[in-house]
C-alpha cells in the first residue's frame, strides 16, 4: 500500500471527482447532446447528470462501508475471487483507456489552435511526460495540484460561457420537446455523451486517504451535482448561441463558443486561445487522476509496492494507443466503448456491490 495517511479533506475529494470528470470531452459534449436531442440537448445532459448522481450515491455509500480499503481490495470479497478479479480488470481498464484518449484530445486541440505545425509526438510526448511525472507524486500533492488547476479552468470556462451569453437567443432552444428532433436511435452518440460523466470511480479508490470517511457521500453527490450544473449550463449556452444545427456541425464547440465572445478593448484579441490555455489544465487533471488511479489500482491488483514504476512502464503503451486513434471519428468511437464501460461500472456493478455489501454485512452480524 502506498502510505495510507488520511490527509484529504472532503472538499478535495469533490474537486478530485470534478477533476477527473471535467476535461476534454466537455468541448464536444454539447454537439453530441444536440445530435441526439436537438435543441433540448441540455435537458438530456441534465437528466443524465441526475442519473449519474444516483450512481455516485451508490458508489459513495459502498466506499463509506469500507473506509480502510479501495475497491480493488474489497471487490473480490464481495463478488468472489474470480468475478472480483474480472471486475477489477474492467475497472482498471476503464480508467486506463481514459488516458490515451485524453492525450489524444489534448494533441488535437493544441494542434488545431496553438501550434498548428508542431508534430504530434512533440505535443503528446511532452504532455505525457509531465502527466506521468505528476501522477507518480503522493496523493496529497496530487490533490493539491488538481485543486488549483481545476478551479482555474472552471472559473475561466464559466466566465467564457457567461460572456457568450451576449449572443444567446432563447429561440434557439425551442421547441422544448419535439419528437422529430430527438433521435434515440443514435445510441452510440447517446452513450458517447455519458463519456463526460464517468468520474465516479475516484471515490472507490481514494477513500483510505480521506480525513473523515463519513463525509464521502456528501462530497460525491456535491461533485456530481456540480458537474451536472456545469455541463447543463455549458450545453445551454452553446445551444442558445449557435442553434442546434450549427452546434452539430462544429467539432470543438467549446472553443468556437470562446471564439464568438466579443469583448471590446481587451489586451488579448481572442478569448478562445485563453480558454485553450486554461483548458489544458482541465485536460491535465483528467489524465493526472486517471493515471494515478491506474497506478495505485494496478499496484494493488498485482501486489506490487511501487505503482509509479508500473506507470512509467506504461508510457509507451499509452503513447502508442493515443496514436492508434487515427482521427476524430475513431476516437469518438473509442470513447463510446469507454463510456460503455463506465455505464456498466456505474449502473450495474456499483448497485450490485452495494447490495452485496448490505447482504453480507447482515449475514456477518
Amino acid at each position: 500500500m502506498i502510505g495510507k495517511q488520511r490527509m484529504l479533506s472532503s472538499r478535495q475529494i469533490t474537486l478530485l471527482i470534478l477533476g477527473l470528470g471535467i476535461g476534454g470531452s466537455v468541448l464536444t459534449l454539447p454537439s453530441l447532446a444536440a445530435d441526439v436531442f436537438g435543441p433540448s440537448g441540455w435537458l438530456l445532459v441534465f437528466v443524465l447528470g441526475l442519473f449519474y448522481t444516483g450512481g455516485g450515491w451508490f458508489a459513495a455509500r459502498l466506499a463509506a462501508k469500507f473506509p480502510e480499503e479501495t475497491i480493488i481490495e474489497y471487490s473480490p470479497r464481495l463478488l468472489g475471487k474470480w468475478l472480483g478479479f474480472l471486475f477489477n480488470v474492467v475497472f482498471i481498464l476503464y480508467l486506463f483507456l481514459v488516458i490515451p484518449v485524453n492525450v489524444r484530445i489534448l494533441q488535437e486541440v493544441v494542434n488545431i489552435s496553438l501550434l498548428p505545425r508542431a508534430p504530434a509526438w512533440f505535443v503528446s510526448g511532452s504532455y505525457l511526460l509531465v502527466l506521468i511525472y505528476g501522477a507518480t507524486r503522493p496523493v496529497d500533492q496530487l490533490a493539491q495540484v488538481n485543486e488549483l488547476l481545476i478551479e482555474i479552468a472552471l472559473v475561466i470556462g464559466l466566465s467564457v460561457s457567461l460572456g457568450s451569453l451576449q449572443h444567446f437567443k432563447p429561440l434557439h432552444l425551442m421547441p422544448l420537446f419535439s419528437w422529430d428532433q430527438i433521435k434515440l436511435d443514435k445510441i452510440e452518440t447517446l452513450v458517447g455523451v455519458t463519456f463526460s460523466f464517468g468520474s465516479i470511480p475516484v471515490v472507490s479508490m481514494v477513500v483510505p486517504y480521506i480525513r473523515r470517511p463519513q463525509e464521502v457521500t456528501k462530497a460525491t453527490v456535491k461533485a456530481t451535482l456540480i458537474i451536472t450544473g456545469v455541463y447543463t449550463f455549458l450545453t445551454l449556452s452553446v445551444l442558445g448561441v449557435f442553434g442546434y444545427k450549427e452546434t452539430i456541425d462544429l467539432s470543438w464547440v467549446g472553443l468556437e463558443l470562446a471564439k464568438s465572445v466579443n469583448v471590446q478593448a481587451v489586451i488579448l484579441q481572442r478569448l478562445d486561445l485563453v480558454l485553450i490555455v486554461t483548458w489544458i489544465s482541465a485536460l491535465f487533471t483528467t489524465g493526472l487522476i486517471a493515471s494515478f488511479l491506474v497506478a495505485s489500482g494496478l499496484a494493488q491488483l498485482l501486489r506490487v509496492r511501487k505503482g509509479s514504476a508500473l506507470l512509467w512502464g506504461l508510457v509507451p503503451v499509452i503513447y502508442y494507443l493515443s496514436t492508434l486513434l487515427k482521427n476524430y471519428f475513431v476516437w469518438s468511437q473509442t470513447s463510446f466503448y469507454i463510456a460503455l464501460l463506465s455505464l456498466v461500472i456505474t449502473f450495474f456493478f456499483y448497485p450490485l456491490l452495494y447490495l452485496l455489501s448490505l447482504w453480507k454485512g447482515k449475514r456477518h452480524v
Binding site: 512533440f122 511526460l129 429561440l171 422529430d180 442553434g243 444545427k245 450549427e246 456541425d249 464568438s260 484579441q269
Partner: protein, 389 residues
C-alpha cells in the same frame, strides 16, 4: 525523497532537451507574416473565362508605414503611397488562390487578423457566399468576429481606396459596419453570426450592403441570400424595417407630416422598438402577426410647431402609420423574393413544430401564401425640452 527531487530535475532537463532539440514548431517571426486585413471577391469581367473563376484580392498593411518607428520616424512615415498593398489573383477555389498569391509574396499570408470579407453581389449570386467562405469557415485562425459584406460594385475598389480618416480601408469599413444609422443591417455583419443564421432552419440570412464611391464607401441596405446565394437587395428603409421586425435595438429618424399643419413635417427620433410575433386565427385562416411597439420623440419641426398637447393623438397615429407602411413594405419584399429572412419559419419551427414539419419542404411557396399582418403602436415619450417654437 532526494531521489525524487533528482528525478524532477532530470525530467525538467529532459523536457528542456526535447524542447530545444525539436526546434520551434511552426513558429514564425511577426515580420515573416503578412497580415491580411481584408479579402475581396470579384467576378472576372473579361470574355471567355470559366464562369467558376473569380478574382481573389487580399489587402496587406505595410508594417513599416503603419507602425512607424515612434517619435523620430519622420523618414518612415511620409514614405508616400498608401500604407497597404493589394494583391490579386484569379482562381476557382479560395485555397488554391491563396497559394497562388503566396508565390508572389516573401511573407506568409496570415488570416488570423482578417477583419473584413467583401463579396461582389454578382459573384455572390453565381458562386454563392457559402462556397466562397468555405475555406475560411474551416480555418481555425479566422475570427468569428470578422465582418462580412456584399458589395454593390467592385469589391476591389474598396480595398484600394484610401479612407478619409482611418489608416486602412478595413478599419474604416469595420467601423462603418458597426451599428450606427439604423438603415444598415447590423445584426449579422459578423462572420460567426452569419454562420449561425445560415445553418438555422426557417430563416435566411441577410448581409450588409456596401457601395463603393469615388471618395468614400457608403453603407446602407442589405443583400438577401437564398441558400447561400445572392438574390436581391433591400433598400435602406426595408432594411430598417427588417431590423425592427427582428428586434434589433436600433435608433432612427422618421419624417412625418404634421397633423395640424398639412405640408409641414416633423422629424421624430424613435427608440425602444419592441416586436413580438404570434400566430392568430382570423376567419378560420392562420395569420402571422408582427406586433411592434416603440417610443418616439420629436426632434425637429420644419416651421410651425403647434400646441403639443393637441398634437399627441394624431402624431402617434401618424408615426405608427409611417412605421407600419415601412414594415409592410419589408414583408412584401420578402414575399416577393420568396425568401424568408423575417424568421417566420423559425418561429413556426419553435412554436408549431407539427405544422413546420408539414410545410418545411416547400416553404418558399408556403411563405409566399402565408398572410402576414403588421401592427404598429407608437408612443410619444414626451420628454420635452421646449414648449414654444
Amino acid at each position: 525523497m532526494t531521489a525524487e527531487s533528482k528525478k524532477a530535475c532530470l525530467l525538467g532537463a529532459l523536457l528542456l532537451v526535447i524542447l530545444t532539440a525539436s526546434g520551434c514548431w511552426g513558429g514564425q517571426e511577426l515580420n515573416a507574416r503578412a497580415f491580411v486585413t481584408a479579402v475581396a471577391f470579384d467576378p472576372i469581367t473579361e470574355e471567355g473565362v470559366d464562369p467558376g473563376e473569380f478574382l481573389l484580392g487580399v489587402q496587406i498593411p505595410i508594417p513599416a508605414k503603419m507602425g512607424g518607428g515612434g517619435g523620430d520616424s519622420g523618414e518612415q512615415g511620409g514614405g508616400g503611397g498608401p500604407p497597404f498593398v493589394v494583391f490579386e489573383t484569379t482562381t476557382k477555389m479560395v485555397s488554391v488562390g491563396i497559394r497562388q498569391l503566396q508565390r508572389q509574396l516573401d511573407r506568409e499570408l496570415f488570416f488570423g487578423h482578417t477583419q473584413l470579407f467583401l463579396i461582389n453581389a454578382e459573384l455572390a449570386a453565381t458562386i454563392g457566399v457559402d462556397q466562397l467562405m468555405d475555406h475560411f469557415k474551416r480555418d481555425f485562425r479566422v475570427q468569428r468576429m470578422a465582418r462580412i459584406a456584399i458589395i454593390d460594385g467592385e469589391a476591389r475598389a474598396i480595398l484600394n481606396t484610401q479612407p478619409p480618416i482611418s489608416q486602412t480601408p478595413s478599419a474604416y469599413i469595420e467601423n462603418l459596419l458597426s451599428p450606427q444609422s439604423g438603415v444598415g443591417i447590423n445584426y449579422i455583419s459578423d462572420f460567426g453570426r452569419f454562420l449561425v443564421e445560415q445553418s438555422d432552419d426557417g430563416i435566411e440570412p441577410v448581409l450588409p450592403r456596401l457601395k463603393p464611391g469615388k471618395e468614400a464607401t457608403v453603407t446602407g441596405g442589405a443583400a438577401v441570400l437564398k441558400n447561400g446565394k445572392f438574390v436581391g437587395w433591400l433598400s435602406n428603409f426595408e432594411t430598417r424595417g427588417l431590423n425592427i421586425i427582428l428586434n434589433q435595438r436600433i435608433r432612427s429618424n422618421y419624417e412625418v407630416e404634421c397633423p395640424l399643419h398639412p405640408g409641414e413635417s416633423i422629424v421624430v427620433g424613435v427608440d425602444n422598438f419592441h416586436s413580438r410575433h404570434q400566430l392568430r386565427e382570423v376567419n378560420g385562416q392562420t395569420v402571422f402577426q408582427i406586433k411592434v411597439r416603440g417610443q418616439f420623440e420629436t426632434i425637429e419641426f420644419s416651421d410651425l410647431h403647434g400646441p403639443l398637447e393637441a398634437l399627441q393623438g394624431d402624431l402617434e397615429r401618424g408615426v405608427s402609420a409611417v412605421v407600419q407602411r415601412e414594415l409592410e413594405q419589408t414583408v412584401r419584399r420578402a414575399q416577393e423574393l420568396g425568401v424568408d429572412f423575417l424568421g417566420v419559419g423559425r418561429y413556426l419551427k419553435s412554436y408549431k413544430p407539427e405544422w413546420w414539419r408539414q410545410v418545411k419542404d416547400n416553404w418558399a411557396e408556403e411563405f409566399f401564401a402565408l398572410p402576414i399582418e403588421v401592427e404598429v403602436e407608437m408612443e410619444w415619450a414626451m420628454t420635452i425640452r421646449r414648449f414654444g417654437g
